[in-house]
Symmetry: C3
Subunit: 120 residues, 3 copies
C-alpha cells in the first residue's frame, strides 16, 4: 500500500454476538486479516441498528452483553482485499447469521508504517 495509490475498503456488517467456532466472529475476522497481512482493520460498534435479521438492536433496550451492530472494516490494495475475501467468504456464507459485506474504493493521501513497538 502506497501514498497516492488506490485502495479497497471492505466492510462486513455483523452482530456483536455472532460466533464462529466458539470465537466472536469479529475477532475471527480481525485475526484472519492480521494473518493474511492486511494493512489495516478497525471494528466500530453501533449504538443502535438493524440488519439482515431485521431485529432492531440498541443499548437502550438491551444490556451491554447483548447483540449490537458492528462494522468490521479492512483496508489494503484491491488484490490483497480480494484474496482475503476469498479466504473468509465461504465461512461467512456457511453461517446461520445474516451478513452484509460491501467493497468501495478510496485514494491514499498518506501511508506510513510506524516504528514497531509493543505498545506497553
Amino acid at each position: 500500500m502506497e501514498t497516492n495509490s488506490e485502495i479497497s475498503v471492505l466492510k462486513i456488517y455483523v452482530g456483536s454476538t455472532d460466533q464462529i467456532n466458539q470465537q466472536p466472529l469479529y475477532e475471527y475476522l480481525v485475526f484472519q486479516a492480521k494473518k493474511k497481512g492486511i494493512a489495516g482493520a478497525t471494528v466500530t460498534k453501533g449504538i443502535m441498528g438493524f440488519g439482515a435479521s431485521s431485529v432492531i438492536h440498541s443499548y437502550k433496550f438491551w444490556e451491554i452483553s447483548e447483540k449490537v451492530s458492528l462494522i468490521v472494516e479492512f483496508v489494503d490494495e484491491e488484490v490483497k482485499i480480494r484474496e482475503f475475501w476469498n479466504t473468509i467468504s465461504s465461512n461467512l456464507e456457511a453461517m446461520k447469521y445474516g451478513c452484509l459485506a460491501t467493497i468501495t474504493r478510496a485514494d491514499v493521501l498518506l501511508y506510513r508504517s510506524g516504528i514497531k513497538h509493543t505498545d506497553l
Copy 2:
C-alpha cells in the same frame, strides 16, 4: 438487495440530543427505515466532532448526557434509499438543527438474511 449488486449508502450526521416530536432524531430515523423495509441501519457515536452548528463536542468536555456527533448509516438498493430519503427529507429540512446527509455507492460482496430469531 443481492450479492454482486450495487447499493447506496446514506449517511445522516446528527447530534445525539436532536429531537423530533420529543423522540431522539436518530431513533426516529432508524424506526422509519425499519418501517420502510430498508435492508440495514447502523448508528455510530463519535467521541468528538463538530458539524453544521460549528460547536466542538467531546466526551472529554461534556457529560455523557450531553450532545455528541452521531452518524446514522442506511444501506439498500439506490431506489429504496431514494424512496426512504423522500419520506424523511422534509422533516429534516424543517428542523432547527444543522444537518448533513450524503450518499455514496458500494458493491455488495455478500448479502444473506439470517434465520429470524428473537435475540434472546
Copy 3:
C-alpha cells in the same frame, strides 16, 4: 458546501494515544479543522483494530487508557479538504507513528446550518 453538490471525505486512521506537542493527535486534527473552517468532523473509536504499526488493539485486551484505533473523518468541498490536508500533512509525515489517510467522494443530499447555540 451545498445541497446537491459533491464533497470529499477525508479519513485519517490514528491511534488514541498518538500525540503531537503533548496533545492527543485526534484533538489536534479536529481543532485544526475547526480553525480552517472545515464543515464537519467526527472522531469514532474502534473496539478492536490494527494498522500501520501492525499491533492488534482491543478493549478486551487492554485497559481503557491504552491505545485503540480511531477514525477521524472530515467532510467539505474538495478544494477545502485539500487545503486543510496541505496544512496538516507535513506534521503527520514527521511523526513516528504509523498513519493512513484516505479520501473519497460523496454526494450531498442535504446541508443546512443549525441555529447557533451554546449547547447548554
